[in-house]
């Protein structure tokens, strides 16, 4: 399982800001993610309408989630599959291990799956003598380096080319140590060769699911590499891990969401492989698994239904929110300290691990609102982060200095005359300090802030309220 370091967000963030390799990697966010998404969205004039449709489909499903899950499960069973309902991560881990044991599994290949990170499947299998092999290129190198993913669709987003070369040299010791990686493709080809034999030898394949379809009992995975398909096609047992909110009623519903997903995530119109798996190998089929298991996981989601946080269950895990987040862009994903980084993680992590441990995350936001503006299913992420701040305050988890300052501010805010008097004095003082230069190089008590940037000095003429009152008096 990903070791929880969310309580140390501040220290994590400070370390991230001082890490030149990470900062080099993060500099790629803007050209790679922003530009591509913007281009894909511009290419589909109906994108805004589709966002509303996506939100409505998910809301309709969540309002009837019990029914659609039952229809889905019945259709999986019709196709020869087995559905394992699991309330907790413990239960889900035990089910996966038991399926692998029954299959006599020695090695298990895995497609990239965030729920698998949440459950900590790999450690659990390894502890019981079964070798899990991550096959997504990014997840593969993270497994070699024993690192958690730092991004939900580009898990090795934080690494640079030299990290790849170094890890491959250290891990693939059977190959010529003097080999040269002249281009990125050489790294890719080496991974392809290494993993091909793993695919062929695996006894069980574990994937996640982007969607579950009630109408047909299908699990859907979306990938670009093809590793997920090899994982679910070659071994004799396929296990699909899916949390309960992944279900949608029909193929038409899934189609509308798929039109949003790749465009929001990688800026592709459609991912290379969108694959629907429905049950076991049919009579006469030349390939496909003989067993098909769906591990349907709650792990805290059902508690979100009927609360302020129900809207978070619409999330389709595209990563647009973190790709456009100034905080994620500065710290990267590891600083968030658990499975899900960025704005979606700042909302989800406190619900799943507790606000007492993850309270820093909803505070690590500038509330610029960009996350909400790019969310394909219109989750009001800033509003939900604000809800967490309120709860944290109510539960007295907020540090004393912040509480005292807030109380002080509240006293003035409730007394407009005093508030105006104090701001007038403040503005006057700042005006004197910054006189002539129009900006500050230096401010008392704010050195940490001014070290990296300037603050424009207030223009002469008093506060807005003072100028407004003056203008009213003059009849303007």
């Amino acid at each position: 399982m990903v070791h929880l370091t969310s309580p140390a967000f501040k220290e994590n963030a400070a370390r991230a800001l001082a890490d030149p390799g990470l900062q080099k990697a993060l500099a790629r966010t803007k050209p790679q993610f922003h530009g591509k998404r913007a281009k894909a969205v511009a290419g589909l004039p109906e994108f805004e309408q589709l966002r509303n449709i996506g939100r409505d489909i998910k809301n309709h499903t969540l309002a009837n989630l019990d029914h659609y899950l039952e229809v889905y499960a019945a259709n999986v069973e019709k196709a020869g599959g087995v559905v394992h309902w699991c309330s907790t991560a413990d239960e889900a881990r035990a089910v996966v291990l038991e399926i692998c044991r029954q299959a006599g599994a020695k090695t298990v290949t895995k497609g990239k799956s965030m729920i698998s990170e949440e459950l900590g499947i790999n450690d659990h299998l390894e502890a019981h003598g079964i070798t899990p092999v991550e096959t997504d290129l990014g997840e593969y190198i993270l497994q070699l380096r024993k690192e958690p993913p730092s991004h939900i669709i580009g898990p090795a987003f934080h690494l640079n080319r030299e990290d790849w070369e170094q890890s491959f040299r250290e891990s693939h010791t059977d190959l010529d140590p003097k080999r040269v990686f002249t281009e990125r493709r050489d790294i890719l080809t080496e991974a392809r060769t290494k993993l091909r034999s793993r695919f062929l030898a695996a006894d069980v394949g574990i994937t996640g699911a982007n969607f579950l379809i009630a109408e047909t009992g299908s699990s859907v995975i979306v990938t670009n590499e093809g590793n997920g398909d090899l994982t679910q096609t070659l071994p004799k047992v396929h296990i699909a891990l899916a949390s309960i909110e992944k279900v949608v009623p029909t193929l038409e519903d899934a189609t509308s969401l798929l039109r949003l997903l790749a465009r929001s995530a990688t800026g592709q119109d459609f991912s290379v492989y969108t694959t629907f798996s429905t049950g076991i190998r049919r009579q006469g089929d030349l390939d496909g698994p003989e067993q098909y298991h769906v591990v349907l996981i709650d792990n805290g989601r059902s508690n979100m239904i009927g609360t302020d946080f129900q809207e978070m269950l619409r999330c389709i895990r595209c990563a647009a929110c973190m790709n456009h987040c100034p905080v994620y862009g500065a710290t990267g994903g590891h600083a968030y300290g658990w499975v899900y980084p960025g704005p979606m993680g700042s909302v989800l992590t406190p619900t799943l691990v507790g606000v007492d441990k993850a309270g820093h995350l909803p505070n690590a936001s500038t509330f610029c609102g960009r996350c909400e503006s790019v969310c394909p299913v219109k989750i009001p992420l800033p509003k939900l982060m604000r809800h967490w701040r309120e709860r944290e305050f109510e539960r007295h988890l907020t540090p004393g200095t912040i509480r005292t300052n807030l109380r002080l501010w509240a006293w003035f805010a409730k007394r407009p005359a005093a508030y105006r008097a104090v701001t007038r004095m403040g503005i006057g003082a700042l005006g004197l300090l910054g006189r002539g230069k129009g900006a500050f190089k230096w401010l008392p008590f704010a050195e940490g802030w001014t070290r990296g940037r300037d603050l424009p000095a207030p223009e002469p003429g008093g506060t807005f309220m003072a100028r407004y009152a003056k203008a009213r008096r003059q009849g303007r």
Binding site: Q32, D66, L69, L137, E225, D229, T233, Y273, T307
Partner: protein, 255 residues
Amino acid sequence: MSKDAILGAIRRGLKRGPLPADQAAMLNGRIASHPRHLIPARSRIPRAEQIALFIKNVEKEFGTVQRIPDLAGVPEAVTDYLAAQNLPARIVMAPHPELESIDWTARPLLARETRRAQEGDLVSLQHAWAGVAETGTLFFPSDPVRPATLNLLPETEIVLLRASAIVGAYEEAWDRLRAERKDPMTGGWMPRNLMLVTGPSRSADIEQTLELGAHGPRRLHILLVEDEAAPREMSRAEARAQATAQPGTPAAPGD
């Protein structure tokens, strides 16, 4: 049992018990009628433009397309493509009746095996069931004549697609699937595996820079048969193939 615990927790959140029968029936009706949502205008265009849009989108995603007048042109197109890519004249081919109906004798030097893919296969020849113009996407429903491994293991995949099998939007392909296919196990129409493929395999995991050929094919080459005159041929051939593979399974009406 966890099933009851999960459903119970969901219902508590929704502040209700199990859905009353009439509401459940309404939701089942929504599934049965599977209403379409907004379909983007980009594929709502005249037929010839739809096919051109399909080709444009395949090429945008680094696939290649060659138009051929009829099935008789396949052997030459395959051998020429392999030669141009400097690949050996050897393919592994889907046991699809349409591919098997081709007269390959004119190209005796092309080695062919009809089976699923195995490790070491360099080139596959696969049969696409449909193409979607909206994004240049191929539909591969798995069945005995269309093994999924042919889409995955070889480095080069050549695909036969009839122009008449190109539709505008995904929703049209869903309706065709619902109307034309019958799954022997569920009695429904969804096959065990349905792959929607848009271009060759790729990864951007190394420094967010796109490289083709991650775990699946590095090249995807489509042979587009211009057959608009006889649009229904393919599905009949397929229905026969399915009936042969499962003796005793009657062909569904409308096949």
